[in-house]
């Protein structure tokens, strides 16, 4: 365990940033967004950033390749961005768990090389949540926000930050920074305090009972879906702020000078999602809404040894324009029991 005074965080980040590309949670228009570290960036570690850390591995949009017609041949040009080593600072336990959910999708055969390359180049410095919010329910999915994991774990304890390496990569990273030893006791006190708050959170009693693999028949035809989805706008906010939503589309864009093939986020909430020649497999918003929650709470765990594809980060609770969310869905469906 290593420790630094809180006022030394700036110089620590500068030292990390001098060697590698570094992203930190920073203020931006009233939001907290992961931002490239630079002099003058307003670092804000007060709460989990508004946009999840999945963007580092599964970006909103990325180039796959470019096609160019030259006479009777077509050139295929690999114009993906080249990745360099990077560090993400201040990732919370929920987002770390989301990487496991995404890995199951992108790193199982056939491996997604674009995703894997970014995972391989990353180093994750996590931060324990000293002040979990009313929207937080990571505990529901067995996640401990006081033990966030990653390559290096950080704790904000009183007037100092403590760091602990979790992986070998993290050990080597901390060794480079020549930090002073200490902080063990402070971390234990910090953890005890977090656990005290966790028990008092409004959503602390939410469980996954009634959900998981094998529950399709119990839940699919529940009449509650109609009322739950009635005011859904069909926008993609919940899916795009969600750290585990992993659906994408691949599209071609005519640049006027060839074709750019790119991958971008897609949302099961959209009416043209997975549209095929036979039409839209889920023609109503009720069906699209149900798909999203059934995927998180039933289908994904069924195919991934019981792992839920919700991590309780609470971003959908914060961001849904009409105040719909997974917690409300879980509570409403369970009322029938």
């Amino acid at each position: 365990m290593y420790s630094i005074k809180k006022e030394a965080l700036g110089s620590l980040l500068a030292a990390i940033g001098a060697k590698r590309k570094l992203y930190v949670p920073a203020d931006n228009a009233g939001l907290i967004l992961f931002t490239p570290y630079a002099d003058g960036v307003s670092v804000n570690l007060s709460r989990n950033p508004d946009v999840s850390a999945k963007d580092f591995f599964f970006p909103q949009v990325e180039n796959i390749c470019r096609f160019k017609v030259c006479g009777k041949t077509v050139d295929v040009i690999d114009n993906r961005e080249k990745n360099e080593d990077f560090v993400v600072f201040g990732v919370r336990a929920c987002d770390v768990k989301s990487f496991e959910v995404l890995d199951n999708v992108f790193l199982s055969e056939p491996v997604d090389g674009y995703y894997k390359d970014r995972r391989d180049h990353s180093l994750i410095v996590t931060l324990a949540c000293s002040k979990p919010l009313e929207t937080c329910f990571c505990g529901t999915f067995g996640i401990d926000c006081a033990a966030p994991g990653g390559d290096v774990e950080a704790y904000a304890c009183g007037d100092s930050y403590a760091f602990r390496a979790i992986t070998e990569k993290g050990e080597a990273f901390l060794a480079e920074l020549s930090l002073e030893n200490g902080g063990d006791e402070a971390v234990e006190a910090c953890k005890a305090k977090i656990n005290e708050i966790k028990a008092k959170l409004p959503l602390s009693d939410l469980t996954t009972e009634g959900f998981g693999g094998g529950k399709t028949k119990d839940l699919f035809n529940n009449p509650k879906w109609a009322e739950l989805s009635a005011s859904c706008l069909g926008c993609g906010t919940c899916t795009f702020v969600c750290p585990t939503c992993q659906c994408y589309d691949i599209r071609d864009f005519d640049t006027g000078n060839g074709i750019q093939r790119y991958r971008c986020w897609d949302s099961c909430m959209y009416r043209d999602f997975t549209k095929m020649s036979a039409g839209q497999p889920r023609p109503s918003q009720l069906e699209r809404f149900r798909q999203r929650f059934m995927h998180k709470l039933v289908y994904y765990p069924e195919n991934n040894n019981g792992l839920f594809s919700c991590v309780g980060c609470g971003r959908c609770l914060r961001k849904c324009p009409q105040s719909l969310n997974i917690v409300k869905v879980m509570k409403a469906l369970r009322e029938d029991d």
Partner: protein
Amino acid sequence: MQELIKKGKELFANGTVDRIIGWTRGELPYDREIRVFRCAECFEKDFVYDAFCGANLSKYLIEESGKEGKIGVFLKPCDSYSFAQLIKEHRIKKENVYAVAIECYGKCDSRALADSVEDAIYWITDNGPELKIDTVSGAVVRNTYDYMLEKCAACKTKKHAPGCDETIGDEGEKVDDCTRFDIVAKLEAMTPEERFAFWRGELSRCIRCNACRNVCPACSCEHCVFDNPASGISQKAAADSFEENNFHIIRAFHVAGRCTDCGECSRVCPQHIPLHLLNRKFIKDINELYGEYQAGENPDERAPLTNYTKADCEPSVVYKRGGKN
């Protein structure tokens, strides 16, 4: 709120409506969901009208008024303009709606309020000018007026558009010292390069969730051109860094002259993009070029952008003369 509940129960009891669309408590202390109440008892039990009912109900009436029976709705002043405009565009069947005009003194930006509190929130008590917030580590108090939605802080009118069936409380007046064009004027005073940089910065945060479009009462196309792969401009995300910006600009053009400035686009944006400024620029231009115009205000008047009179000016000429018609 009690008056509204009384009115709702009365509308159910005398058979005026068979359902009412309104707000109800959500999962979190500051969440207000939209619900269609189908009986007087459930309405009385769950209907809420308070500082957090910022959502505009008008757009839901496009679908709801197409159904059998008659639906009741409570309309805040700004929502009533969306409602009137949608009737004018033949998108809402007025005969299937019973609209009650209600007062509004501004609604709270619940996200900004919650973010101003460090700890997990249990409950919020709305004491009018003050909000008492109970958290896991004790209570804090916030001034309601410090956490207004932008659309409310820059409120243009407390007077309803014509078309409501009755009014509860006193009808308000237009706001004389409305500040809604202040930032537009600042943007106009910038150089084109500064303005371009401003918008590129703001729009760079867009995640293309379409919440702005889907909530917008003026965006009432059944099938948006941006969702139609055959249109050639259907892009789910930016193919290049200007695509996203294009989406917002095209959308602003498409709702120009029909946008009532209800402010929902900026309320729902998860990325805090001030989209209302694009729409207000159009409104300000229309006011300056064709005379004061408020979409939804006059059911019989032709909209300036779909009308022609010999007195119409040439915008480029007007601006060359320094904004004088």
